[in-house]
Symmetry: C2
Subunit: 338 residues, 2 copies
DNA sequence: TTGAAAGCGCTAACAC
DNA sequence: GTGTTAGCGCTTTCAA
């Protein structure tokens, strides 16, 4: 029974003993160092270092009620948007010494509540979710537990939860206006699944609200390259003639570009293609994609910052509106006068 | 002081009291239900339901030593490969009631150790990492703490940690052979950063080991559409003439496709383009991309399964080799006889 | 500034 | 099958 190797991991008692102080003092060095005299603080610190002491997160959590874990509920990671979003969240949270647990919801509100519940069960101190459309059970859960939740991807100052995002209506309108300015009058709109997705619905609503003198034909597709290709193939097959294709996501636009090329239709000469989101890759497609820039990474960091501050200060943060910006590139051009 | 609303959250004692049993019995219906008679079990369960009791993860962890949290260390999420990989991990772990904390390493071994340490500090029961090249500090950490770690993206039965992945050398060779079979003799190889990335190095080594009668020119690029475009633009500018472009990642191939199109070079008529990985989108590019399929999602689930089983049984799992498969599509064709 | 002691909510021996 | 009891490793009163 060697004293030095008996235990797997040193605990605070070991540290206290080694430093010749009480556990309470050792604990203070960890949590309120200024409340301890410099001399004892140093002694305790040395003991900590020598024993390679690492506080038990569980024990700490049980006492302080703080786990330093937050949950990120995203529809999927199999989409560049959410992957980049999560990447930004993780990076920002690391700055705040907060760990992020991922949970994918597949855009299903039922799965969302379930995973949210799990997250709460493991002690998540806050949540980041997408959109403002959630199941009643989710809303009830949030209200009952009073857990800090930031809703992202949209800006809704009136919503019960603080939002960090952009004005999806306005962004879609900005895109449509650009096409209309270029004299397009018959436009195919390619959008992601609207069911259970308020961001998509907001974008569509924005288009319809504009009430310009244009014909808009709506087509729904999975937000993947494959989904876009299949949808565009169908549009072309149907014989419908559009001078422009407005894709409510850059991923869709990229797929459209491929499918149009495959069909031998030249972009932008025969048909203009416009995206929305502006992924980093969008300026490198052929032709480079005209889009409306949504600051996805920025949204991730801002949401993370907002949540971290909420947790830290117990003050709900203000909603954040991220600007959308038109990025004209080579995939759109004016309709030739007939 | 209303008894029903005094406490924020019911604890096991409340449940036990309400059910008229001891805490131990209440604990048993949670952890070994069969050790409790059906009658009392029901009583306790009712109490649990009525009080909406949810066990404290922290208290549970402190006693059982189990946190039900695992860590996934990925280079970045800003790459479809790792995003899909993580997506699969999360889905599989959810089946095992295990939560996954993400940590991005940016391919930096120093960051990797640091984040691994954090993961351990918060009580992660296991880790999933990429590749077999890690800093000595990381290896030491793993050895000292004896934490289960699965290394992915490669298959190395001899490695200290169980690996779940594919044979990167063989996969690259499979791709090269395909081009050589098509009579390509001068091939540009576009690969991701080799520094700190043993998967890329293995792929390159595979190509070189083949020692066929071909000239291989190596070009490095960031694994993004943008990176590929810039690299391809440089290759074209340099005036070097290759009949084929072998991209060691489908993301690079997609960028190459765009850049070649922009340059007016026809694929596959003037230059063949071959990928490696086979993303879901690769069959929808224009032209559809010839690639070697690596089962990334499958790798995620298998790695997750392996880690879960290791944690559950304390038995390190066997390494898993995932097959690579040539997927010929339209982006490659035989060189015309001169 | 420091220490003693009382928990936090649960699990796990051990006894009945 | 069930209860008693002793912790797990820490934070946090309360006294000194």
């Amino acid at each position: 029974m060697d004293l030095t190797s008996r235990k797997k991991r040193a605990n605070l008692r070991d540290v206290a003993r080694k430093a010749g102080v009480s556990v309470a003092t050792a604990s203070r060095v960890l949590n309120m160092p200024t409340a301890v005299s410099a001399k004892t603080r140093d002694r305790v610190q040395s003991a900590i270092d020598e024993l390679r002491f690492v506080p038990s997160a569980a024990a700490r959590a049980i006492n302080s009620g703080r786990t330093r874990v937050i949950g990120a509920l995203v529809p999927t990671l199999d989409n560049a948007i959410f992957a980049r979003f999560l990447d930004a969240i993780e990076n920002e949270m690391a700055q705040h010494a907060l760990s992020v647990v991922v949970a994918t919801t597949n855009n299903d509100p039922e799965i969302e509540v379930e995973k949210a519940r799990n997250l709460l069960d493991i002690g998540a101190e806050g949540l980041i979710v997408s959109g403002v459309a959630h199941s009643p059970a989710f809303e009830a859960l949030v209200q009952k537990t009073r857990i800090p939740v930031i809703a992202t991807s949209c800006y809704e100052p009136a919503y019960a939860l603080p939002t960090v995002g952009y004005d999806n209506r306005a962004a879609a309108q900005m895109a449509l206006r650009h096409l209309v300015d270029l004299k397009h009058r018959r436009i195919a709109v390619l959008h992601g699944p609207a069911f259970n997705n308020d961001r998509t619905r907001a974008r569509l609503a924005g288009l319809q609200a504009l009430d310009l003198d244009v014909q808009l034909d709506l087509y729904e597709a999975d937000i993947t390259i494959a989904g876009a290709c299949q949808a565009v193939a169908k549009i072309l097959e149907s014989g419908a003639r559009h001078s422009a294709l407005l894709c409510l996501s850059d991923v869709l636009a990229m797929g459209a570009l491929f499918e149009l090329q495959r069909s031998g239709l030249s972009v932008p000469d025969e048909v203009s293609v416009m995206g929305l989101e502006d992924l980093p890759s969008s300026s490198y497609t052929a032709p480079a994609l005209t889009s409306v820039r949504l600051q996805v990474s920025e949204m991730g960091s801002r949401a993370a910052k907002a949540l971290a501050s909420w947790i830290e200060t117990a003050e709900p943060p203000e909603p954040v509106l991220l600007a959308a910006e038109l990025i004209p590139r080579q995939s759109t051009k004016a309709v030739e006068p007939a």
